[in-house]
């Protein structure tokens, strides 16, 4: 019994090391006082200060934020509606599994195929209206498309766990649909919705492939900026930027985990 435990704990630590050591290396070099090279030359927060003076990076950060917030808002609302519709409506059996499959598709499809499909779709839409030039609007639409599926999945699992009993009780007490949704389902669902929203936010923040294919020259986001910069020269500013993005993502994920954990304990 003990032997198995030891093996498991060693693999766990090794896996975490494998995942996190490269990230620590980036954080390490972001406070290193040298422009090139791999030798430790002293602690400095200069690179972080230079970050905030770099106009390109600030513009890219603003774009990333706007994109993430708008697409998260829209996709959370759409995803919640989708989840409630899928779970609470009495679909016939086969329809249920088909809907389930369709819901899982955006999650499973490789990003690059999704992005290529977006390029073709927007090319077609461009023929109908010039509002679909590559740019922030395109990126928002593309992000909403894949985020909705993730939000719907999270919310749906929460819906299944709260069960139909409370709602049936409410119906027995003459609650109409609007009252039911607003005063009963949504408040019970709130932790799931928030968790889904945070997941969507993190996905949008980190997204590269889909943003790359739908971005215009004016709508550079942070991942795109880092990609372009790294192909030319890797300055410690990039390390500082990466560390900051990493911290934001970690905080979001921890918060999301906290929310869902509270829910399960209840």
């Amino acid at each position: 019994m003990r032997k198995i435990n030891l093996f498991v704990s060693i693999s766990a630590i090794a896996t975490m090391g494998f995942l996190y050591l490269p990230l620590m290396a980036v954080a390490f070099f972001s406070v290193n006082d040298t422009k090139y090279g791999l030798v430790w030359k002293g602690f400095t927060l200069d690179w972080y200060l230079k970050l905030f003076q770099n106009e390109f990076i600030l513009h890219a950060a603003w774009n990333t934020l706007v994109l993430a917030i708008v697409s998260t808002l829209v996709s959370t609302i759409l995803g919640t509606i989708l989840a409630i519709g899928m779970d609470r409506f009495p679909w016939p059996g086969k329809m249920n599994t088909t809907l389930d499959l369709i819901l899982h598709l955006p999650v499973i499809i490789p990003d690059i195929i999704f992005a290529a499909a977006m390029v073709v779709a927007f090319g077609f839409l461009r023929a109908l209206s010039s509002a679909f030039e590559p740019g922030l609007v395109n990126m928002i639409i593309a992000h909403i498309t894949f985020q909705t599926a993730f939000v719907a999945l999270v919310v749906r699992s929460r819906l299944i766990s709260i069960g139909k009993d409370v709602e049936e009780a409410a119906r027995d007490l003459y609650a109409d649909t609007t009252y039911l949704l607003l005063k009963i389902t949504l408040p019970l669902l709130m932790p799931g919705i928030v968790a889904g929203a945070m997941l969507a936010f993190t996905l949008s923040l980190d997204d590269f492939v889909i943003s790359f294919f739908t971005a215009g020259p004016d709508s550079v986001t942070l991942p795109l900026y880092i990609y372009a910069a790294v192909r030319r020269v890797v300055t410690p500013q990039i390390h500082a930027l990466s560390t900051l993005i990493l911290l934001v993502t970690i905080i979001m994920v921890i918060l999301m985990e906290r929310f869902t954990r509270k829910v399960n304990i209840k």
Binding site: Y36, G37, E133, P134, V137, F213, P217, D218, R231
Partner: protein
């Protein structure tokens, strides 16, 4: 929700003021990215926005994936011009808006890919060669491409250039074939050579010219295949530490030109840019900055005299004999694509 979205659309729309803005899609570090746009704005009042790429293929893919209405000026190399013209991705130039066209050298008005400058005006021309760290490699070591391709030699850590025609062409001339060969047997031999070279532990992989040059400077690599101007910007400042050479088997000579994409948002401003770049002082300050050779005859008197004497920038006749223009191979472009995909995926 619809309100928020439409509000956002309006906001982002106002940032794109079509009237006084010029969007340029160019190679990275190909002009003084801080000052040249400011000088243009001071001269004409038009704001400039720069976007950069690392290879012609990347630029063309971006144009075809919806970027046609996004940029006013692109800077393609000579060999990709026939494809751009055939696919109707370019706007013909209006010579009445470019009076300074007369400043172009005669060779650049009769180029085989665009005789009469219907679609393009020369920007810079140059070569591809090897930049090396003199602390690790002696001048006598690098006279032949064998320093990279011969497994018996030890060139320290090096980058190959991440550009299809240049890299395949160099492998082909090293093996004794034609730079523009499309013979399947020869392409296979060249791609085999590249795959073997890429797998050696000294080879750090493929990187664009600018990235490779920056890595030699930072010490990450000891040698890299780069464009001549990029290398010479550093070599001319520190000639004891870095060197640049076109090895004897030969290499590429290229001309980059300014073109206007088919659905450019501000064609007027694009013409103004082209005319402004053709002014003698502007052309000279561009070449003095990026250390490439200029096609603008009127600019030559304003160039730094050391640059004119530098055979890395203005190659001597013996070097020119070993340099080849990349040719557009029409249907055979397919073979080149296959060879390159093979190199990258093995």
């Amino acid at each position: 929700m619809l309100m928020v979205l439409s509000f956002l659309v309006l906001l982002s729309g106002s940032a794109w003021s079509g009237g006084g803005e010029l969007k340029i899609f160019t190679w990275s570090e190909y002009m003084d990215e801080e000052n040249m746009p400011k000088d243009f704005e001071a001269a004409t009042g038009i704001k400039v926005q720069l976007d950069m790429y690392e290879s012609n293929e990347e630029m063309m893919a971006k144009l075809q994936a919806g970027g046609l209405g996004q940029y006013d000026i692109i800077i393609p190399s000579d060999y990709i011009m026939p494809s751009l013209i055939n696919l109707k991705l370019l706007t013909p130039l209006d010579p009445s808006k470019i009076p300074n066209m007369k400043n172009l050298g005669h060779k650049f008005t009769q180029a085989s890919f665009d005789p009469g400058n219907k679609y393009s005006v020369g920007w810079q021309w140059g070569t591809v060669g090897l930049m090396y760290n003199k602390a690790k490699l002696k001048d006598s070591d690098v006279t032949s491409w064998a320093i990279l391709f011969d497994p018996a030699k030890n060139p320290g850590s090096f980058y190959l250039i991440d550009s299809v025609r240049e890299m395949l062409g160099i492998a082909l001339v090293y093996l004794g074939y034609d730079f523009n060969s499309a013979v399947p047997k020869e392409l296979k031999a060249a791609s085999d050579l590249l795959i073997e070279t890429k797998k050696r532990k000294n080879c750090l992989g493929f990187k664009g010219g600018v990235g490779g040059k920056n890595d030699v400077i930072s010490g990450v690599a000891d040698a890299a295949i780069v464009y001549n101007g990029d290398a010479i910007q550093t070599v001319s400042k520190e000639p004891e530490k870095y060197g640049f050479i076109v090895p004897r088997e030969g290499s590429e000579i290229w001309i980059d030109s300014m073109c206007i994409p088919a659905k450019a948002p501000n064609i007027d401003a694009a013409h103004k840019w082209i005319n402004w770049v053709l002014e003698p002082e502007v052309g000279a300050s561009l070449s003095n900055y990026n250390q490439y050779a200029t096609p603008n005859d009127a600019a030559v008197p304003f160039l730094t005299p050391e640059d004119l004497k530098n055979s890395g920038i203005w190659p001597t006749p013996e070097i020119i004999k070993t340099l080849h223009f990349v040719k557009d191979l029409g249907k055979d472009n397919n073979m080149i694509d296959q060879a390159w995909t093979r190199v990258k995926s093995h």
